[in-house]
């Protein structure tokens, strides 16, 4: 049988290089399929948007694929799609992400498109306006989505006064306010080699892959590149806050309720993550799924999620219920959260989730995309190249007491944020 350990990335098979201009490259080979994936990020997320121009970072990231000095929009996509390749950008709160995939024979094209769109975008006005119309339609569709609107409301309440309370996609009026100059200026100030991390995984020797990236991006300099500002302090809510966002004519309402959570780099991340698994993931969505779906039949989906990144995290339960059951479901979830922090978890529950975390690693790292994502994770949170090999020990070191203590640090049933959306 193929060995589990050998299948996980580690220091002996991840090739990591830091280029003089600041770009960090990570590569790992996988010759099982004739394909290759690029996955990357840089510090150019929505955090950098002015309040009145929310959506700017998102707009810039999408506009990069709309034309460069060498290729117009149709030429860019024609080259990619003609060979079954894809490449694109997206934007989150802290980072803009980019990447793509192709047959390995077309990797040079993928790299060329990456280098071209990063460095030479032209933001053609007609394309920018088409993109704006698409973004505005996306926002109109979002306004009708009970799950999206409950999540946005949750962030507004939980992170009140903190930039995490804002929408990375913006709002119709802020997207309307963004000008061509704004796009160009944002690109000039925040797109550059410093802080950029690129991973390449697939049917190519790592040294060769790294050399290829260096060839196309090693000479890039941007002296105007600015660093992202530090995050302000976050103060969690001191009492329960509840808000309903009305959307008429819907047959289902969404609930997003919970509290803040640890940062990815906090020691509490692993106990919180295991605890979250017990609370609302393990098996058919953990304790929450058991109570809300299996026992009460109140929802098709009911689970908990731990969102842990650079700054203060969020720890919440999401469920979609009939509008008539909104209160009943909210109360059930509240009781379950209370039971979780009052009584903690059993040794058996912890052992189950530990086995789950360790056992599922090979599956999550099977595809090129999965490995490329894990390499970015290693770099972003400074986990060490052997992180996934040490992972079983890190998981198994967590105790029942650690989980309980972490739960009590973050979840207080008397201080919950409860956001709902629906009729």
């Amino acid at each position: 049988m193929a060995s589990v350990r050998h299948s996980l990335p580690g220091a002996d098979d991840i090739h990591r290089v830091e280029l003089p201009n600041g770009i960090v490259l990570l590569a790992r080979a996988n010759f099982n399929s004739p394909s290759v994936v690029i996955s990357a990020y840089l510090h150019a997320g929505g955090l950098l948007d002015p309040d009145e121009k929310l959506g700017l970072a998102d707009f810039v990231s999408s506009a990069l694929m709309r034309g460069t000095q060498r290729r117009d929009f149709q030429k860019l996509y024609d080259e990619l799609e003609s060979v079954g390749a894809s490449f694109g950008y997206n934007s989150g709160t802290h980072y803009a992400g980019f990447g793509g995939r192709s047959l390995v024979e077309d990797l040079p094209l993928l790299l060329d498109v990456m280098a071209d769109t990063l460095q030479n975008p032209t933001f053609p006005v007609d394309q920018v306006e088409k993109l704006r119309a698409q973004m505005l339609t996306g926002l109109a569709i979002r306004a009708q989505d009970t799950s999206d609107m409950a999540s946005l409301t949750f962030d507004e309440l939980l992170y009140a006064g903190h930039p995490y309370s804002r929408s990375d996609e913006g709002w119709p009026e802020t997207v309307q306010a963004i000008t061509l100059d704004d796009l160009e200026e944002f690109h000039r100030r925040y797109y550059g080699p410093r802080g950029m991390v690129i991973s390449i995984v697939g049917a190519v020797e790592p040294e060769k892959a790294v050399g290829e990236v260096e060839r196309v991006l090693g000479g890039w300099q941007n002296e105007a590149q600015e660093d992202a500002p530090a995050l302000p302090e976050f103060n969690p809510p001191t009492k329960t806050i509840q808000r309903h966002h009305a959307i008429a004519g819907k047959s289902q309402s969404d609930i997003v309720m919970g509290s803040h959570g640890p940062k990815r780099s906090d020691q509490e991340y692993m106990p919180a993550s295991l605890g979250n698994n017990i609370l609302g993931q393990f098996g058919l969505m953990g304790r929450i799924g058991d109570v809300v779906r299996e026992q009460s039949g109140l929802a098709y989906y009911a689970y908990s999620h731990l969102s842990a990144g650079v700054g203060p995290g969020a720890w919440y339960v999401n469920a979609g219920v009939n509008p008539a059951n909104l209160e009943k479901a909210t109360e059930l979830i509240k009781q379950e959260l209370k039971r979780y922090v009052d009584e903690g978890i059993t040794a058996e529950e912890l052992a189950d989730s530990q086995a789950n975390f360790v056992g599922r690693l090979p599956l999550s790292l099977e595809s090129n995309g999965g490995v490329a994502g894990s390499l970015l994770n290693i770099e972003r949170f400074d986990l060490g190249l052997d992180y996934y090999r040490q992972y079983p020990d890190l998981v198994n070191a967590v105790t029942v007491e650690d989980v309980l203590e972490t739960a009590r640090t973050y979840i207080d049933p008397e201080r919950l944020v409860i956001a709902t959306a629906g009729p």
Partner: protein
């Protein structure tokens, strides 16, 4: 993804397909049943999907709470899907743990309890699932168009079923459906991954061969009559966004025209993602994208057909630009269809479609679950050879074939056009 596989039929009629892949310490095991919404009469719509839900409610040997925990504890992933023609269950597990998946599938092929109380609570869960679907304008529109495009055949209704039937079906209805279709001679097992074929086959025989064959299920035979003219409909609901869906009659997957139509679809609406797990590619250079999105009549367009046992539908979906009218987008669609009917496509365009399909298959071969999926899936409407020869069949398509199928299938008289008309914020 072109290696040979082992195919064997057990003494009880269950077909087994095995493929060793030693790239990762994983095994993916799938059991497919030939039952889906095509087997449902009015009053029982949605029953196949609901039965699939009940298959997670436990047996005497594996009660519900034991079942899900056991799979998760071993680091496995499992799920099930119900569709027009089939229902399937899979487990992807660390290679040394797959026996659990095999045992549980053999067990729930015959021993599921269908406890009355569990049926009651699952009724509410399925209703909730449908309510979630109803929140989406495109579900509302798709259901209306499908219902109008298919009047006689059981492909008429959505897989999830009609609300009326979800309220009225009983435990005994569900159990009867289960006993009728969940028999070895109506199922296929497909396993791919890091195992030894002889050992795997021996274990499968040990677990599944004792299950007796059942009576071959009777099938509904209600072929859809020819459509005699274009149908138009509208659905009204909340929101600000207008959607248009145009559905054309499409042949079954084993029909020779399926491949020229796949090329046609690729040129018109971009290549369909052929993987259940693993990515597809973008669609920004297809003829419809250029004619609709680049011309700012729509903000998105997609198209596609499903591989089905009986003839079904090819659907083109457009999200209309906020400043434009749906009829403008529709007339641009008609122009593009006329162009592909009047002018032969270039040979290069066909080569492009083949290369795209080759890339998409390569992405799919990165994971074992997707490889196992294809083995069983192809058997549901053709056989595994359909998958193996897919690229060759695309390569055999000529520009004249594409023109012929465009002229034959993309006719206004055999289509339904539906529009979702938003009424602003009002209910």
């Amino acid at each position: 993804m072109t290696e040979e596989i082992i195919q064997i039929t057990l003494s009880n009629g269950m077909k087994v397909l095995l493929k060793e892949i030693h790239t990762a310490p994983l095994v993916s095991s799938w059991v497919w049943y030939r039952v889906g919404s095509r087997d449902e009469v009015n009053g029982r719509t949605g029953i196949s999907h609901w039965v699939e839900h009940m298959q997670f409610k436990g047996t005497p040997e594996f009660p519900a709470s034991v079942l899900d925990k056991a799979i998760s504890r071993e680091g496995g992933m499992w799920n099930a899907m119900t569709y027009l023609d089939w229902t399937t269950y899979f487990e992807t597990m660390p290679a040394d743990k797959i026996d659990l998946g095999l045992r549980l599938e053999a067990d729930r092929m015959v021993n599921s309890a269908f406890d009355e109380q569990e049926v009651g609570s699952e009724r509410m869960v399925v209703i909730s699932e449908r309510e979630g679907n109803e929140n989406e304008p495109q579900f509302q529109l798709g259901e209306a168009v499908q219902g109008a495009a298919v009047r006689v055949h059981a492909y008429h209704h959505e897989v999830i079923g009609d609300m009326a039937d979800l309220h009225s079906m009983t435990r005994d209805d569900l159990y009867e459906h289960y006993r009728t279709y969940y028999i070895p001679n109506n199922s296929i097992m497909a396993v791919a991954g890091d195992f030894d074929t002889d050992q795997m086959l021996e274990r499968i025989k040990e677990l599944f061969e004792p299950i007796p064959a059942g009576a071959e299920p009777a099938r509904l035979a209600r072929p859809e009559p020819e459509q005699k003219g274009e149908l138009r409909l509208s659905v009204e609901g909340p929101g600000e966004t207008t959607y248009v869906q145009a559905c054309y009659r499409f042949p079954n997957a084993s029909h020779a025209d399926f491949f020229p139509l796949a090329v046609l679809d690729s040129l018109l609406a971009g290549p369909s993602n052929l993987n259940m797990f693993g990515g597809g590619i973008s669609n920004k250079t297809s003829r419809l994208y250029r004619a609709l999105v680049e011309k700012e009549l729509a903000v998105s367009v997609s198209g596609g057909a499903q591989a089905t046992i009986d003839p079904f539908l090819y659907s083109i979906n457009m999200t209309i630009h906020p400043q434009r009218k749906p009829e403008d987008a529709l007339s641009a669609l008609d122009n593009e269809i006329k162009r592909i009917q009047d002018e032969q496509v270039n040979e290069d365009e066909i080569l492009r479609a083949i290369k795209q399909a080759r890339a998409i298959f390569a992405y799919g071969s990165e994971n074992i679950t997707n490889q196992a999926f294809w083995m069983g899936y192809a058997e549901m409407f053709a056989d595994y050879n359909w998958f193996l020869s897919y690229l060759d069949n695309l390569a055999a398509v000529t520009p004249a074939d594409v023109q012929r199928v465009a002229q034959q299938y993309l006719l206004p008289k055999s289509r339904v056009v539906g529009t979702y008309v938003p009424n602003g914020g009002e209910a």
